[in-house]
Assembly symmetry: C2
Homo-oligomer: 210 residues x 2
């Protein structure tokens, strides 16, 4: 056999084994909204500021007390929670089931990539705004701190696959997961509620790169 | 190398290739209820009979006009459609999201295996029944006609894995799918709505055994 090919296969198997040794914690994202400061003030009032409800695993990110109602052409969904801090864009992340309730067909996107995504009406206690675009289905992704990326031998922008729920009746392999590497990140696989339920996962369960 | 091992590996690769050539159509199951004749009459009236709403892919199975409200300890869900014909057991199949709305923790089960599953209250236009058990999350499964089982070299009761949404951002491999073989069946992969949405699937999309 070809020695070079054998070495490639063995190296690949070793890398898979190394990756499979280290769990990636799962973070389940329910529908939520990110606000610019301006849009936040428009729906919660000029004097309002986001109030911490729960710290998230990603450093500096937090679920807020503030919730809004979103309205699409077919229906509305209440109690959509804000995730802080402010962003440079206002964005609503929903599930496929939510998109049917609202009557929208959002694309699957990495956060902030909003071109040609549908708009939506957002109502808070002090006002309503209408976005021209900003509604997406979140693209599955893993946040890596550079030190985790080193352990997993992953580069920013690569795609990965993970095995979830090994040994259970909902064991699932998610393919084409975007890997994002930043000093600001903590290791975490972000899935939406339907992806998590399909694989029988809860927050902080372990997924494994394969 | 060991000739026997090589033959096993080659045979396995050939089998995978043969299976991968033939698509398995996806059937997406929304929440639904199966009724015994007795329970049906109790909620729809002694003179009622199930009325065809839509024929399903499985021969003789059909969605009915009849819908009920189901009530658990935390909440209720309206417009849960009956799937006919009558069965020898009354059973409610829901999603994980539904189970949170209702406040139940149903097990993942093959249809009809209801021991130690939670109960539920079912209300129709003519009455209410309270099941002692019968609420499940459906275990992923593929229906095979024996002639399909022959093509795929699958035996009743085996488990399989399928790749869905190949090349899309929601590409997913579902593991541990129960294979059921019967003269009464037509080839179909049954997933619930959350599994289908997680993999970006609609009714009649193609899945591939891998």
């Amino acid at each position: 056999m070809d020695d070079k090919l054998v070495k490639e296969i063995v190296d690949d198997l070793k890398l898979r084994q190394e990756r499979a040794d280290k769990p990636v914690p799962v973070g389940v994202s329910n529908r939520h909204v990110h606000f610019t400061k301006e849009d936040f003030k428009a729906v919660f009032g000029a004097d309002a500021e986001p109030v911490l409800y729960r710290q998230l695993r990603q450093p500096g990110f937090y679920a807020c007390n503030e919730m809004v109602t979103v309205e699409g052409p077919r229906g509305t969904i209440k109690n959509v929670r804000m995730i802080g801090p402010y962003r440079t864009y206002t964005q609503v992340e929903i599930s496929v089931a939510d998109s049917r309730v609202l009557g929208l067909e959002p694309p699957i996107r990495d956060s902030g990539k909003l071109e040609n995504s549908p708009g939506i009406k957002i109502t808070g206690p002090k006002g309503t705004i209408t976005l021209k675009n900003g509604v997406i289905l979140s693209k599955r992704h893993i946040h890596f701190h550079p030190k985790d990326a080193g352990v997993f031998k992953i580069k920013d922008g690569e795609h990965a696959r993970v095995r979830c729920g090994a040994g259970t009746d909902r064991e699932t392999i998610f393919e084409r997961i975007l890997c994002r590497v930043s000093e600001k990140f903590a290791l975490e696989l972000h899935l939406d509620v339907e992806e998590a339920n399909a694989a029988g996962l809860k927050n902080d369960d372990a997924a494994y790169m394969v």
